[in-house]
Symmetry: C2
Subunit: 146 residues, 2 copies
DNA sequence: TATTGTTATACTCTATAACTATA
DNA sequence: TATAGTTATAGAGTATAACAATA
């Protein structure tokens, strides 16, 4: 053969690194996530924001940014998009008029429920090769790296 | 308190999903990787390409794209950059004049060795909370998802 | 001075479609 | 027709610096 084909390629240098596997698995999850969300127009970052507001009504943008480990500057577009779509509402906090208290609208709550069901199925599909115990072990190991 | 502070925020919706943890850990690895490579001007994708050429001299661009699960179109810039920096060499394959056989230059080999040492230290730092056995378990679980 | 949100901008990785040249 | 590489372009996530309003 003149060139190597897939599966014959030596990836031993990369195989030793956790970062390589995390990246590959993460990219696969990204692609599957996008498929699973088809029709909702909800992306990963948007779901992260929605789910945090669902569990923490009244949270502000900076709180979400800290929890999701993204920059405040990148929250602006996400929040604006969710508000334009009437999935969240912003209310000025009287005691701190710089901040907005964020809550879900009824449509936002319904969207979160729909997304949770979709993501549950997407995860079950991607993790089909692991037992329930293994899935728990995996999450536990990843949590200790965060 | 008027707003929730970091650590007081409920992330339970996200915590149940492997994809969320993979993403967070992956982002942390990305940031650390960039730090670890400071001064080399080698990014993740570039190291992936270099390491595959190191282990598979003569491989072509399509073979690398398949192995790294990236698109051929995105290889063009990476390969051009590495060639401009004299880290790799391209040779037309006589039996298939569409393809280029890729090999490392001496500078490329030295760069791979330097990067391997840097990445090894970066991984040891990020994985300090895991035992050797746990690291192996983690890689094993991630490999079964790829 | 510090915090909250904002604007502007840039970088990295990934993705698709259409093209050239070879096979 | 199919393959190998290329071009152009776009989307998503993340990053920094500087700013206004508020505390």
């Amino acid at each position: 053969m003149t060139t190597k084909k897939r599966g014959q390629i030596d990836t031993s240098f990369l195989d030793a690194f956790v970062g390589y596997h995390v990246r590959r698995v993460g990219n696969g999850f990204d692609r599957s996530f996008t498929e699973a969300m088809a029709g909702t127009e909800i992306r990963q970052a948007l779901f992260g924001v929605l789910s945090l507001i669902a569990a923490n009504p009244g949270i502000n943008q900076g709180g979400i940014a800290d929890a999701l480990e993204i920059k405040r500057a990148n929250m602006v577009g996400l929040i604006a998009e969710l508000e334009e779509r009437d999935l969240i509402a912003r209310a000025v906090v009287p005691s701190n008029r710089r901040a907005f208290a964020l809550t879900l609208t009824a449509a936002g709550s319904a969207m979160v429920a729909d997304c949770l069901a979709r993501i549950g199925r997407h995860e079950d599909r991607l993790l089909a090769n692991l037992s329930s115990a293994e899935r728990i072990i995996l999450i536990g190991l990843l949590r200790r790296l965060a």
